[in-house]
């Protein structure tokens, strides 16, 4: 209710788990879901006397993301130790970057609902290692799994340029899309391979000074980020409106209850005593390396969208939906190899395919209908061999079985009847059996035309070509009208 009086200031920190095969500083596997403590070695366990060695691909991935987000790439970059005690961090420090992050001063552009574009500036992107996993709810004690320890992360930090939960969601969607396009992170927020923390404060509109901020954690989907920020902004406004002060603290979003709760940890000292990591030597990135990576960058979402508009003559909306994920865009491009009707393929994917994916909560990668089969199906519709309704039904069915559309159509006898003389027979039969309705139709009840079509479809079990049914019906009725009037 006070929303118009206040403005929220939000900065996001995103952690993206990188799709490397091995960890950041040792050869242990990064595979998700292995038995606890099975991919651990003395290096990621922080045993004395071990030395970390940096995985080259981590640097490549960081530069890739930096280039894709218009960052400057630091040619001389170092690692730092961030010191704190927590049981899932056996070394007692996290290897991170502090003073010289590899990427800095970038931006990501989001498009607001009103079509306006807004730049969200990136302060930095830096390389670091993940901590292990603490499990608090399976035992009276806390259980520790070190598998994730040392898995490489990129931390992406924005300037406080975000002002609404919706902008935060748009920005996050954009980052997720980018990391997926670059194939450096799978972007799965539910499984925690993409995580987001938010710094939130509110201030009176027009005020220059920032308010006291809180940090909100534990938001494991884009929807939850939106909801948690909505809640936290309102909470802070209410505190200020009732004359209170916001306390700087860390809050956990409880998605089930829809509230944030203060996180009380026994490790509250936020004094990380960063210092340069003596075990790792500086990373020096020569210009040639950056150029090489630049050349290897895949087509990014906006470029792909523009190309789709041009190459396939698609409206912007279609191109945007189809390129929202690389996998979906690839699926589209696979389909149009087999069919020239670009717009129909787009319609089918945007409406029918996405509906099925949504209903079953699956990804396009798990969609059983091969691109060539979808193309075949659309071709059959275009050739008039089956009608739309049948095609939708066929798609629904083959998306469960993976069967080829033509074999299903043949097996079930679904081919559309386009034989005009046969359709004429049926039409005559329907009109003769409905003499009263025909009279009412002539008397002006135009709507009965649809009823006649329905009756013809019923008799042909939905297989009659609707276009021909319409033509024949119109012709027959006209003939009868002439007869009656004449």
């Amino acid at each position: 209710m006070f929303a118009d009086k206040y403005e929220a200031v939000i900065g996001l920190e995103i952690h993206a788990q990188l799709l490397t095969n091995s960890k950041a500083f040792c050869g242990c596997s990064t595979k998700f879901g292995l038995p606890p403590n099975s991919n651990v070695c003395p290096i990621c366990l922080g045993m004395p006397g071990t030395l970390p060695v940096l995985n080259k691909r981590v640097v490549e991935f960081a530069i890739k993301l930096g280039l894709a987000t218009h960052c400057k790439i630091r040619t001389y970059s170092i690692f730092a130790r961030k010191n704190y005690f927590y049981p899932d961090l056996p070394k007692g420090y996290q290897i991170s970057q502090y003073e010289e992050p590899i990427c800095y001063d970038g931006y990501v552009e989001i498009e607001l609902k009103n079509g306006e574009k807004k730049k969200i500036r990136l302060r930095r992107i830096h390389m670091e290692e993940d901590a292990g996993k603490s499990i608090h709810d399976q035992d009276v004690d806390t259980l520790i799994d070190i598998n994730r320890c040392g898995v490489p992360l990129l931390e992406i930090v924005t300037e406080p340029d975000i002002n609404t939960p919706q902008e935060a969601a748009l920005y996050l969607t954009k980052i997720r899309q980018l990391v997926q396009y670059l194939d450096i992170c799978d972007g799965n927020m539910e499984e925690g391979s993409l995580r987001c923390d938010a710094n939130v404060s509110v201030r009176l509109k027009g005020e220059k000074k920032l308010g006291t901020k809180t940090e909100v954690k534990n938001m494991n989907s884009i929807k939850n980020v939106e909801k948690a920020l909505e809640y936290e902004i309102n909470r802070q406004i209410q505190i200020l409106e009732s004359g209170g002060t916001v306390i700087q603290e860390t809050l956990l979003w409880d998605a089930g209850a829809g509230v944030v709760r203060p996180m009380r940890s026994k490790e509250e000292a936020h004094d990380y005593r960063y210092f340069p990591e003596p075990d790792l030597v500086p990373v020096v990135v020569p210009e040639e390396w950056i150029n090489e990576i630049k050349k290897s960058l895949p087509e990014l979402p906006e470029e792909k969208r523009d190309r789709f508009m041009k190459q396939y003559k698609l409206p912007k909306y279609d191109a945007e939906v189809l390129t929202s994920s690389k996998a979906l865009a690839d699926y589209y491009e696979q389909c149009v190899k087999y069919i020239d009707d670009y717009k129909s393929v787009s319609n089918w994917i945007m409406v029918e395919v996405l509906k099925i994916l949504n209903e079953r909560q699956i990804d396009i990668a798990d969609f059983k209908v091969k691109p060539e089969h979808l193309a075949m199906l659309i071709n059959l519709v275009n050739e008039g061999k089956i009608n739309q309704t049948t095609a939708k039904m066929v798609l629904e069915e083959i998306s469960e079985t993976g069967e080829e559309p033509d074999s299903l159509i043949e097996r079930k006898g679904l081919l559309q009847i386009s034989d005009e003389s046969f359709i004429e027979e049926v039409v005559v039969k329907v009109l003769e059996g409905n003499k009263e309705n025909v009279e009412r139709y002539f008397a002006g009840k135009d709507k009965l035309f649809g009823y006649f079509v329905g009756e013809v479809m019923k008799l042909t079990k939905g297989k009659a070509n609707p276009k021909i049914v319409n033509e024949v019906l119109k012709r027959k009725l006209e003939e009868m009208r002439v007869k009656v009037n004449g």
């Binding site: 091995s22 403590n37 070695c41 520790i144 799994d145 070190i146 203060p262 000292a269 004094d271």
Partner: protein
């Protein structure tokens, strides 16, 4: 600014160390002496000197992204003072508090 006993206590707490009073006093004095010594470096003019982050003149020591075998799990867990099956076990470290009563009242009003 000289180090006080409060600084020593603060650093000891960050390092999870406990000391007797006389030890704290001794460390206060030692810390001050070390810093004084290091302070000598400030007498040098370093305006045009690039910061040195590493004493060895090496750069770009990388590994290729290749998975190597990890350690046998039983070996890894041998060091655990306490364990449950294949997990390390430590005292509960996190506690999420329910919002305080008065906050709840405020939310409802």
């Amino acid at each position: 600014m000289p180090v006080t006993i409060k600084d020593v206590e603060y650093i000891a707490n960050l390092a999870r160390l406990e000391f007797k009073e006389e030890e704290k006093e001794k460390f206060t004095e030692q810390f001050n002496r070390i810093l004084e010594y290091i302070d000598k470096l400030n007498e040098l003019d370093t305006t045009d000197v690039e910061p040195l982050y590493h004493v060895i003149d090496l750069k770009n020591v990388f590994r290729e992204d290749i998975v190597k075998e990890s350690y046998p799990r039983e070996e890894i867990l041998k060091n655990a003072p306490s364990r449950t099956e294949f997990f390390f076990k430590v005292p509960k470290v996190i506690q999420v508090e329910k919002p305080q009563k008065e906050n709840e009242d405020k939310e409802q009003s």
